[in-house]
């Protein structure tokens, strides 16, 4: 049983190896290192699937092991900092997603980067491998500190890849923005990690003394934590919020979402990787990973749900008016991650993980499809310059359509099942007594209409109607290396919903909700739900009802499912009605001032720039003045006095020997006089 887990860390190490190899020898390798990346991620994918099969069929796991202890704490006190791995259903599922998307992105890059004759490809592939490695290591982390380390590495890789075309104007500044904005959130995360260390002395996710279990005990027996007169519940709330800061930054939730649309400056396959599987998914994964901790805190859950629901709607409205294909997808990513946060806050752990999974598939598909369109259109991204591509790019069109249906949440595509599950879980707990969830649910429902509308506005503008430019008349053809990933993901987008068909669970039975069973640890060792691991879905459910007061109302999922589907169809219908014409009108211009606000993203960027220049900068100036004037002033004054005194005193060094002799003699005489007075020679 543990044999498999001694091999499993290799999942993480393959991409690291390929990173090092490409870094050293990339220039001389076939396809400039692409092959090494493909092989490495392919192996990672194979081993991940194998591990998953062992867990599903042979009941192996869960498994946690500390691999390396880099700072040993004092005996019985202090903290021990370690690197370790944790293989459980959640992390293994995520490993499969990440390595699958990374693998397909590598293949797609052959068409998008190599065939287009880009330069600097070894750097590109090396960064991709490092990116994959960081994310996989983040996923298998068994403690919060290690997670933080790789969380940061993920941020670094995104910086490298968004700024890949660093000779142009846009990408370097977009890369910097992504780095800085996420760093702002990560700062809170870091403080949160330190807080967890300070309060619990460990950051391990699993094990009887994991900080999650300790926190549950602390709230459970009402221990008062006396630091700053906070109760134990308040300490947990604050810590959870601090860590949430990192998740908000990485998962691009309001108000730290502004980096994500700009990140579209990077190569499109990178966008697919960032949005579907790696960087942005990291935030949601982090919250899901330590869900037992969040489940203890009803306040933070409510914030999470409201924030997620609000972001889902807020980002979706901005997607309505965008003209670039990738911009629409960028805002839809923010919006979809909002749904996941909503599900987590609404007590739908399975729903969130399910949506993370299906979203990874269909969003990667949409981005890769957009990449194929962009290549076909000779790097034109404006949808108004496209049109009529559906007959000329059959494979791209069909797969993109599957992805769009999934994104819009149309039955029976993947997104329908997962988005509906997220909404249903929220509603269920809202009816069960958590009233604030009604607001979040409302946001989520409204976002469904908007999502379906902007998704199909995008589809109609890009693929339907008459070609509007010469490029659209005669698109560049795309190769198998771009079609293959599209087809794989297209099939996934159609079928992935089968993982967890929650809406019709009354017909297929609870036991056939595969993902829920999987996350409950039904296929693996008994200890999964008990104190040793305490990571199972069932355990989280207990925590939610015991500490957060989330009770599920008895409610058939069919009704809410039909409502969500109906709303999605309305959105789709409106899009069809407005944009089906061969020469569609730019209907959005009728919105006038509202459109201007939406085009400018609610002036969020301006607000943040104001915050930096109007608020932070004066404070920084004041601090600088204090530092320069008072702190440095004191130091400089000490030096200045010495300098001045030295300048004067050195004049006594005349260079004339007689003067020195005279001073010596004088000194001797003075000494004698002093000795005489002191010794009482004369008096």
């Amino acid at each position: 049983m543990s044999e498999i887990f001694s091999t499993a860390p290799a999942i993480v190490l393959f991409p690291l190896a390929s990173f090092l190899i490409i870094l050293a020898f990339g220039k001389w390798m076939p396809y400039r290192g692409a092959l090494a990346g493909i092989v490495a991620t392919g192996f990672s994918l194979a081993v991940s699937i194998w591990v998953a099969l062992q867990m599903a069929l042979d009941g192996a796991g869960p498994y946690q092991e500390t691999l390396y202890e880099f700072i040993a704490g004092l005996e019985g006190e202090g903290v021990t900092l370690t690197f370790g791995v944790l293989f459980d259903p959640l992390s293994v599922l995520m490993l499969i997603i990440v390595s699958l998307i990374a693998f397909l992105v590598h293949v797609f890059s052959l068409g998008y980067m190599n065939d287009e004759g880009e330069t600097g490809l070894p750097r590109y592939y090396a960064s991709l491998s490092l990116f994959t490695f960081s994310m996989l290591a983040f996923v298998v982390s068994d403690n919060l500190l290690m997670a933080f380390v790789f969380f940061e590495l993920v941020g670094l890789c995104s910086y490298l890849l968004i700024g890949f075309w660093f000779r142009r104007d846009g990408p370097p500044s977009a890369a910097k923005k992504a780095f800085l904005v996420t760093r702002f959130g990560d700062y809170f995360f870091l403080v949160g990690v330190v807080a967890v260390f300070a309060v619990f002395g460990t950051t391990a996710y699993a094990g009887e003394n994991s900080f999650i279990n300790q926190a549950a005990d602390m709230v459970g027996d009402g221990t008062e934590y006396t630091f700053l007169n906070l109760s134990s519940q308040q300490v947990i709330d604050i810590t959870a919020l601090l860590i949430l800061g990192g998740a908000i930054g990485k998962s691009a939730q309001f108000p730290l979402h502004t980096w994500l649309p700009d990140a579209m400056e990077g190569p499109t396959p990178v966008s697919a990787l960032i949005h579907a599987a790696t960087m942005v998914a990291a935030g949601v994964y982090l919250v899901a990973r330590m869900y037992g901790f969040y489940a203890l805190s009803p306040n933070v859950l409510a914030i999470l749900a409201l924030l997620g629901g609000f972001t889902a709607l807020f980002a979706a409205t901005m997607a309505l008016v965008k003209q670039e294909l990738k911009q629409v997808l960028a805002y839809s990513t923010i919006s979809q991650y909002g749904y996941m946060m909503l599900a987590l806050g609404g007590g739908g752990y399975v729903a969130a993980v399910f949506h993370l999974t299906t979203h990874a598939i269909f969003k990667a598909l949409l981005f890769l499809g957009a990449g194929a369109v962009i290549i076909a259109m000779h790097h034109e991204e404006n949808m108004w310059e496209m049109g009529g591509l559906k007959d000329k790019m059959r494979v791209t069109y069909l797969t993109f359509l599957a992805g769009s249906l999934a994104l819009a949440g149309i039955f029976p595509f993947a997104g329908f099942w997962s988005k509906d599950e997220a909404l249903f879980e929220t509603l269920e707990h809202a009816l069960g007594g958590a009233d604030v969830l009604f607001v979040a649910y409302g946001f989520g429902l409204l976002a469904v209409i908007v999502t379906a509308f902007y998704t199909f506005r995008m589809v109609f503008l890009t693929f339907h109607g008459e070609p509007r430019t010469a490029n659209a008349e005669d698109p560049h053809s795309i190769g198998w290396n771009m079609k293959f990933p599209l087809v794989v993901l297209g099939i996934g987008s159609v079928l992935a919903g089968a993982l967890n068909m929650g809406v019709i669970k009354e017909f297929i039975g609870e036991n056939n909700l595969f993902l829920a069973e999987w996350l409950d640890g039904a296929t693996i060792g008994d200890e999964y739900g008990t104190a040793e691991f305490a990571l199972s879905y069932g355990h989280y459910g207990d925590l939610l009802s015991e500490y957060a007061g989330y009770e599920a109302a008895t409610l058939s999922p069919l009704g809410p499912g039909a409502i969500a589907l109906g709303l999605a169809v309305i959105g789709l219908g409106v899009a069809w009605y407005l944009y089906r014409a061969p020469e569609p009108e730019p209907h959005m211009t009728k919105l006038g001032g509202v459109r201007t606000v939406l085009m400018n993203n609610y002036y969020q960027d301006e607000a943040q720039v104001w915050f930096a220049t109007g608020f932070t900068l004066p404070i920084a100036r004041g601090a600088n003045t204090f530092d320069q004037g008072i702190i440095d002033g004191l130091v400089d004054a000490a030096g200045g006095v010495s300098m001045y005194a030295g300048e004067r005193f050195r004049k006594i060094q005349t260079g004339i020997v007689s003067n020195y002799a005279a001073l010596l003699t004088l000194g001797l005489l003075l000494l004698l006089v002093w000795l005489g007075i002191d010794g009482g020679w004369w008096f």
Partner: protein, 101 residues
């Protein structure tokens, strides 16, 4: 054995004072060297006088050491004066002032 020790000390102090005076007022480096020699010998007189007074040979031994030391010092001093003459065209110590601030 009728000369009291005070006389030796007065002699020594006088010789020492002459040496100090020479160093303070003379500008000729050779005179400097001679003045230093006078001061050293003033110390020697003290050493011998006390050795004689206490009937102890240690002071005489020390005086011998001081004489050897003075010889070495003169050798080095004359070397320095030679270089002084070569570099500054004379042996006036107030002329050689390039090593100041």
């Amino acid at each position: 054995m009728s000369v009291p020790p005070e006389y030796y000390l007065i002699l020594s102090a006088a010789v020492f004072a002459i040496g100090v005076f020479g160093i303070l007022v003379r500008r000729n480096a050779l005179m400097f060297l001679m003045s230093v020699e006078l001061m050293v010998n003033a110390a020697n007189i003290n050493l011998i006088a006390f050795a004689f007074f206490y009937g102890n040979l240690t002071g005489q031994v020390f005086a011998l050491f001081v004489i050897a030391l003075a010889a070495a010092e003169v050798a080095i001093g004359i070397g320095i004066i030679l270089l002084l003459n070569r570099n500054f065209g004379g042996i006036d110590v107030t002329e050689a002032v390039t090593m100041r601030w």
